[in-house]
Assembly symmetry: D3
Homo-oligomer: 239 residues x 6
Amino acid sequence: MRPSGRAADALRAIHLEPGFSKHAEGSCLARFGDTHVLCTASVEEKVPPFLRNSGKGWVTAEYGMLPRSTHTRTDREAARGKQSGRTQEIQRLIGRSLRAVVDMAALGERQIKIDCDVLQADGGTRTAAVTGSWVALAIACRGLVAAGRIPATPIRAGVAAVSCGIYKGTPVLDLDYLEDSAAETDANFVMTDNGRIVEVQGTAEGAPFDESELLELLRLARHGIGELSLHQQRALEAA
Amino acid sequence: MRPSGRAADALRAIHLEPGFSKHAEGSCLARFGDTHVLCTASVEEKVPPFLRNSGKGWVTAEYGMLPRSTHTRTDREAARGKQSGRTQEIQRLIGRSLRAVVDMAALGERQIKIDCDVLQADGGTRTAAVTGSWVALAIACRGLVAAGRIPATPIRAGVAAVSCGIYKGTPVLDLDYLEDSAAETDANFVMTDNGRIVEVQGTAEGAPFDESELLELLRLARHGIGELSLHQQRALEAA
Amino acid sequence: MRPSGRAADALRAIHLEPGFSKHAEGSCLARFGDTHVLCTASVEEKVPPFLRNSGKGWVTAEYGMLPRSTHTRTDREAARGKQSGRTQEIQRLIGRSLRAVVDMAALGERQIKIDCDVLQADGGTRTAAVTGSWVALAIACRGLVAAGRIPATPIRAGVAAVSCGIYKGTPVLDLDYLEDSAAETDANFVMTDNGRIVEVQGTAEGAPFDESELLELLRLARHGIGELSLHQQRALEAA
Amino acid sequence: MRPSGRAADALRAIHLEPGFSKHAEGSCLARFGDTHVLCTASVEEKVPPFLRNSGKGWVTAEYGMLPRSTHTRTDREAARGKQSGRTQEIQRLIGRSLRAVVDMAALGERQIKIDCDVLQADGGTRTAAVTGSWVALAIACRGLVAAGRIPATPIRAGVAAVSCGIYKGTPVLDLDYLEDSAAETDANFVMTDNGRIVEVQGTAEGAPFDESELLELLRLARHGIGELSLHQQRALEAA
Amino acid sequence: MRPSGRAADALRAIHLEPGFSKHAEGSCLARFGDTHVLCTASVEEKVPPFLRNSGKGWVTAEYGMLPRSTHTRTDREAARGKQSGRTQEIQRLIGRSLRAVVDMAALGERQIKIDCDVLQADGGTRTAAVTGSWVALAIACRGLVAAGRIPATPIRAGVAAVSCGIYKGTPVLDLDYLEDSAAETDANFVMTDNGRIVEVQGTAEGAPFDESELLELLRLARHGIGELSLHQQRALEAA
Amino acid sequence: MRPSGRAADALRAIHLEPGFSKHAEGSCLARFGDTHVLCTASVEEKVPPFLRNSGKGWVTAEYGMLPRSTHTRTDREAARGKQSGRTQEIQRLIGRSLRAVVDMAALGERQIKIDCDVLQADGGTRTAAVTGSWVALAIACRGLVAAGRIPATPIRAGVAAVSCGIYKGTPVLDLDYLEDSAAETDANFVMTDNGRIVEVQGTAEGAPFDESELLELLRLARHGIGELSLHQQRALEAA
């Protein structure tokens, strides 16, 4: 029995609210239950040095948590003067996940910077961030098309992410904080809207796991990401 | 004529939404028009070294802007590895303003940390931050009383803040970004709910100003802060 | 009765010694009683990026305290690896104050960097810094004229600063450390030599204050700044 | 055909040289072909704050590359003043992998710090680091037993790591730099000596991959890790 | 012929002004010609961790240059966020030089922190710093004796420093900036008042030098340090 | 009697192993007994800003210690976020020593970066670093000649370094850690292969020393450096 009473393969209540931010070229407030992540996409007509004069664009991401997004207050990274290893790991994951579905030549020599800021955390912030960021990115690209700056969207596929884990011996989908902190195995999956894998990260928190367990988690993830893709499409249409 | 069509002594639409954050001991989303600041209060049973064994508490504040809260994206301070002078100036102001109305002996040897994070900026973020923080702080103190940890609230008065400025020759209240970036003189006032001054900061952006102009700004501020105090009371009752 | 025996409206002994530094284009050792601040002006033929090709110049300031300028030793900011919020607040104030009286187009596309280093501190270092910096700046500008690099000085007015405060219930001028650490209200005024306000910063250290108190402090400041302006003129003539 | 001429399921020449370092409580130079990583284990009788008085120990890891371990020189992280996101990601992985097989209560309240320094890089530095670190850790634990500080080794299983990838359409084991920089899919596996999974990280560098490809990589990894475990046992016996 | 017209073995005009700083337990403004270094000694009743409960004291030093002490402005180290290698090298030299003549057990478990701040630079700042610091240190120790905190001064000997160099083929004493920047060989000597060597650092700026040249420089230094010791004694008596 | 049983004028076992690193343009593993330093030379077709368009090249050095190269683990400088004063002092010494024997115009407008990383420390790491770096540098320069990028080597002389010290009253050559930590006087000499001095640094660790002792150390150093030069020549021939 999950603490939230959800079925093993049930996502939390998902809300993807596009246009949350007035200034950004694209934005989405992604809510996975009590986990709330504000994702914005900022278009800049300038690429990193290694791409200058290449004709290609770039997508990159930054991630942060508000100090009191967490159960007890976490130190502000700006005040400490550096980003934690966890923060860097997550923002690298978000950037890789989005770049996997963008045609950089079609984007042209410009950069889209994604910011994912966690307003409230209850487990699964990185998967909410990937999922919401894709919506923000897609809105920003649509804006570039509408403005005549590129002929068609450079986005080749949808991409979303979800966590799975083995909680009290049972594989479950989309862990909340209570489950996450007690899970024996924890895995994050990033997949395209046609069910192919972009990234998989599985970690044994307790005892090591075996192939069959990995496959069960993968199947749960595929199911969850199918639903998240529909949410993304609806959010994009509503934007 | 103000860009927003407001009268010279009119505030923007003010919304103080208490309880925005699930985890914090007190919270308030302060919206002054399109300026949105999330204020949280975190209670810690530990004071800074200079107060240990003094029996007295402390209130301190931190401030940050989400990178895309601004019209064009601002670098993330956590990524740059340091907080700007402006950030430090603002968080020092917020802390001083709140401490001016708190009885530190009545708070007892504990610290309340205020976090003000700007979700969206359109001028006047520091005054929205002070105003919303007072609500978050008051909720947190009420919680301490309810939990029997202190007999009565240590807050001696309300405190709120507003900006005023001389825009195209006319003194106006609560500047938005368009006005702020064009004002000849810019002043921020922090006042108690009974109209006394906690802090005044006036700066000539263009030509220096004189005493009579300062007094006109002060009167506008007193008017605006009167209204803000009512909003604060209502928010606190609704919490 | 003030600890120093001064009248309420009396400045400390003021000495502005121009040319203290052999290498700087302009310099002034500003002594307000036991507060000694070395101010230098360095001319650089290069402006910050946001002014390139604008034809306009810039004036900026940095501030620091020698570690043992204070009663007990303060950590060296260079060793700690960052400047405190107080330092940044003060250097921003000095820069703004000087820029308020400089015609940037007349200065031409060059930058003047002001350094204010506190050799000894006894209260009021920021006001001594503003007052001495104006002298250093004026000498540097005179040098630019003498060298034929600009036709006339770009300085449109004098500017000086002084602190006032309410000490044991009485408004007093130019607080020394003993008064400063006990004052109920503390205010810094930056004014031009014709009595107009460039910046006012007033803070309630104890109980909040009211309009009439602010006005009394302002009148004291105007009186003090009148005297400081005469000292500045004499220093400039002597240079 | 692989650039090195190896079969798809062949590891590079593996050498695990124990006792490379004179001072460390345990050490191993791990060479996977031209990738050389020096791993040391340092025992400290002090645990991180969150474990004080818990009776439990800790294992943590740091990772670094010598500036000219790479094809072209990489900036020294100590000179840049911070560790890259990649460095932090890798050292977190090494620490997690080792902790998965250590009984922290049996280790007792002490910490073992692992340092993995890449002397020469040719792909797969993180997997060589995990594999060599386990040897260094095991030697250090054996030393604790020999010194009578703990009754038996706290290590519950062997752990090793290897990379796999899809190179020109073919799944291959233990990628060198040439393969790594051209692979469509890249995965790192950390497994115990009895074939269970501690960590899996798979990333689509080109097109997303599917479940069957993930399983092929997993089987290659299980084969490689079986061989690496034998190398580890031999190194430990030789130490 | 030296640019200053001095004889080869002549020091610049030396002024050691004790008591320059009102707050420090000991202070001395050391002027070697146009090189002016303010040296202060601060007594703290706390030693670094490695000396706690040892009964022994410590002497350490920090060094800094005001940004416009130099011919052209140097960036402020506090603003850059780190001290240069040159700064660290110099402050380590000053600390070692002073510690060489202090009996740490006689000082007792307290620390004396020396701050050397260059107000104006014209070559030889480190040697002026060592020479002036000894005076500041001696005054501070005398104060400890006067206050009954230690029975006798822990200073066992005088110590001073001077630079020598080979300028246009001739060994000369106490180089100023013009000589320093053109010297073929540059050496700094720290010696006791009885002519023994505490530290020697000689560097070939142009062609390498030989033993006889080193000895000539050493003899010049011994002569100069003899004179500096007399200046130190006089300053100490005057304090 | 030395702890190692060596004669007073005997070096430790010296091994200079060229070509230790596969990627670097020049490399040498320098072993002075149990002190092992990996030295690499990296050629970059780019000079520091102050040399652009000068036609001249540059040689610079960086130094680091692996955390467990020392008897007890030393914190990783990359993790602490800054290089210690000792590290900076040593890398500045290595750079100066090598530049003293390189004709920068003959090198042409390119930079050679030397990295010295201590794999194992047992005293004298800086002298092993200078000695090994010269070999790495010479190999890199020979490569530039072989590639036709410069007509002849820009290296004008050999350079090597050795430490000497007074240990239990006796001057000895090439101190190991046991001697180094107990020596009364410690000196490092950098000399050319024809016996001229590039740098001398002598420090009294205990009582100050006199001229005759300095000369004895210098004679020991000349002897040791003569031998080291032969090792360097053999290593260069073997490369």
